[in-house]
Amino acid sequence: MGTVIRCEHLTKRFGRTTAVDDLTFDVHPGRVTGFLGPNGAGKSTTIRAVLGLDTPDAGRALVGGVAYRDLQQPLRHIGALLDAGAVHRGHTARAHLSALAAAAHIRRDRIDQVLALVGLTDVATRRTGTLSLGMKQRLGIATALLGDPPLLILDEPVNGLDPEGIRWIRTLMRTLAAEGRTVLVSSHLMSEMALTADHLLVIGRGRLLADVAMADFVPPGTSLEDAYLDLTATAVDYRTQPSQGTRP
């Protein structure tokens, strides 16, 4: 099976709002692809469509050439970090991983491996409701890595992590890409993205604004943040109004 994530004319509407509008792109293996866009740009909807959680209104999303819902062993093929809340508060970290390992016929010793990998061995028997945001984020990463998949989609992976954790996840993503895996990462943190991503996909209002190598996107002497804000200046749905002053 291939290791490309492909969206072809992907369109998703919610009522009268078009969240994703005729989006076409490929995500290639061997590099970290940053997925950028303002709030409401359609990043999460795109990710949900790729993962078979949302049914597109038009177009399609393929994982290694196959629609997610047709994958035989999805967790062994693609791992996903969704927002850290997607665990049952009443499950222990180990039970959460055990349930998913059982569904995917993944050997039980892999659970201990990923728990050790993300540094959660000591809290494996605690209910997830008692874990900090950073620990939940690590559990999410353990979940994504459970099936040792060649493709990974990580939605806001550094959310809630401390500086040590941020450096750890950055190194992890670079290592995973260097191993030849496909890594798609969404984030709003431009400085972090500048350190991690090789390639960028930028969307705004559901449309593709840029599909470009990091080196080509950021001209010498400027920052990723400048380049990004220039590009998305016309595609921001939610913006604070310029200050009118406090006097009447």
Binding site: L75, L82, A86, V87, S98, A99
Partner: protein, 261 residues
Amino acid sequence: MPTALSGAVASEIVKLRSLRSTWLTAAFAMAFGLALSIADVSHIASSWPRMAAADRAQFDPVGDSLSGFSFAVLAFGVLGVLAVSSEYTTGLIRFTLLATPRRGVAYTAKTLVVGSFALLLGQLAAFGSFFIGQAFLAKQHLQVSLTDPGVFRAVFCAGLYLFAVTMVGYGLGAVLRHTAGAIASLFALVYLGYGAAKAVEGWSYLPSKLMLSNAADTLAQIQPHPPRPERVPSLTFALLDLALYLTLAGVLGAWRFTRDA
């Protein structure tokens, strides 16, 4: 052979077993039902010698030994609701569907696991409460045996009723995806529906015959003798009631579950 369904079933077993709320709700349902049933039969046994003939005629050695579960049944329904609604309220459903992307397979696995647990728990409650109740009734020689006519049927059907209400809760949880809303609807269906159906009895007894609680009166007693016999369905009708509720819960739940989460 490892298949998507066998994996999904194993996954659902881990999820149900690992939740403290599963065991707390099950323990509460059992304890509440048993305690009320014991209170009922021990009162009957102790007051039997001075009981009026009219009251004695109302006595049902099976139905009375299970009477607590007409209230505890709600806890069974809550168990069914939580088994599915908590996945939506916590967001876990997304990982469930990532692991088992074919919705039909995921729903089948969950229904099989929750259903088997509910059936086991329901029969455990019915037979447990029956045997404990008979021990109390034996003091006045009022007890019956499982081999007496109609007794096994009544106890087994009582377990079926508890199973059915659990699955109605499960179906409501799947349809509404919201714990409080599903529990409120369950309460309305099981308890308020009884009153609503009674209100229209001037026109028709059919709504009353369709009520789960009236079906339970027929199913879980040897000789039902309710104050208003018209209200209570026949044994066949009552079994059809259960089948109807189980089918509706299963089909509506499946319809909603296979829609985007």
